[in-house]
Amino acid sequence: MRPVYVTGVGLHAFGRFPDASLTALGMVAVQRALAEAAIGRGGFQAAFCGSVYGGVATGHKVLTALGLSGVPTVNVEAGCASGGAALALASAQIASGACDTALVFGLEKMPRGMIRSSFFEPWREEAGLAATPAYFALRAQRLMRESDVRAEDLAAVSVQNHLHGVHNPYAMYRKPIGAEAVLASALVCDPLRLLMLCAPNEGAAAVVLSSRPGDAPPVRVLAAVLRSHLPGSVLGEHTPLAGLADDASPTPSEMAACVAYEAAGVGPADLHVVELQDTDAARHILSAEELGLCPRGGGGAWVRGGGGSMGSRLPVNPSGGLLSKGEPLGASALGQIVELAWQLRGAAGARQVADARVGLAHTVGRGANACVVVLRAG
């Protein structure tokens, strides 16, 4: 297998941009990534585009607008993990020799309000059983009952991620918030309050992968692994299916992490920086447990000990996470890759994690899908 390098990254800020089309958002991110990789038409042999709400031929529209069409172009939908899935496909193409350079991008303009998802049958919507934050709430309640995670710990996660996001010019929310404000914010679905939930929004991210390093300080993709849930493990990923079981089966995140660690030849102790899925504050803690950043059931103590904060042994979500950036589904996973590339190059500015050499990105979402990517400087 050949090595896979990140040779260019680009972002369009995450937020609300009523005057920009979805295609326009994607064009910005793609242009930035291609400029950094110093390639244009003819410089890549395949393109993979992550999007959930984009509709027909989302990626083709961006490449057409940029005069870059002609290469095999695949639109990838895997819920919150769409961008990670696109990256995994492109990475495998390069590693196998199917192509030398691939463009990966993700873009989204989320409708406002509670996420509407064709994942749910119409009757589930009509019966009120398609309330996405309510599923997050059930998972959070379960986490709190089966461990010592408290409402104050959920608030602390929001406070920490918002503090990190202050230094991220691409984030939607850049103001620090206090724990009191989080605990006093509107109750959306007990135990989750408004400031414990990320906002669906808009944005785009792009990454160029190549079999050879480019001009930018080299960053290697050591692993890019996608997994879906096993039968019976569904509620843990907040997505109902036919029936529920409480098997001790591993979650998609645990499965993807296990394979990614083995493929990359690293473990949690070798990581210097992590970007993980924090759709809500409880998801942040559960993600940390599933990735082995703290013991299973130890997420509450991890948070109370400052786990994941800047200056701690292993900073988590230095970008501010989804809680600060908001979540444009198709772009969010690649936004993590862009952040990690900057971190591993030492180019993250005021939010730089000192001496970051190995980074991990994690997304999980509807399907249920999880993607884990491990990157290394050099």
């Binding site: 309000g113 509670m114 996420i115 509407r116 749910f120 049958e121 119409p122 009757w123 919507e125 009509e126 019966a127 009120g128 059983l129 398609a130 309330a131 996405t132 934050p133 309510a134 709430a137 059930l138 309640q141 379960r142 009952r145 109750l187 959306v188 679905c189 007990d190 135990p191 039968p231 019976g232 509620l235 109902p240 299916l241 036919a242 029936g243 529920l244 079981a245 409480d246």
Partner: protein
């Protein structure tokens, strides 16, 4: 007022002693699933048969929905959670009739009911199943 319609067919039935859910039971692995499907979602075996289950269970997880989710025309707030059915252990994502958080607790005995969700434009009531705290059904 026309006759009520269920929110979807083959989810629940009325019985003389209360409502029942229609769950699938796998002939191969013997596990129940809901809603019923001829194919077992756990082992993939075909030929599962639908059978009435319930009407009692224990509350496993719960919350209250206060903001209108997409496609929902019913009243707000409403209870939402997971109830584990007695004997067979099947866990069902469900509406809850109780909307006061302080009146719900883990392991609480619950009973299946059929309630009116909303009405169609022609006045036809739309019915769904829900679970109510035992003694309040």
């Amino acid at each position: 007022m026309s006759d009520a319609r269920p929110v979807a067919p083959d989810l629940f039935v009325a019985a003389s002693d209360g409502a029942r859910l229609l769950a699938g039971r796998c002939r191969s692995c013997a596990r129940h699933h809901f809603p019923a499907s001829p194919v077992c979602p756990y082992c993939g075996a075909d030929g599962a048969a639908a059978e009435p289950v319930g009407p009692t269970g224990r509350l496993w997880l719960w919350t209250v929905v206060t903001t209108r989710p997409p496609g929902y025309r019913g009243t707000l707030p409403y209870g939402f959670g997971v109830v584990e059915l007695d004997r067979i252990g099947l866990r069902v994502v469900t509406r809850l009739t109780e909307t006061r958080l302080g009146h719900l607790h883990a392991g609480q005995p619950m009973r299946l009911v059929v309630e009116t969700l909303c009405a169609d434009d022609d006045g036809t009531p739309v019915e769904a199943w829900a679970f109510a705290p035992e003694g309040e059904a």
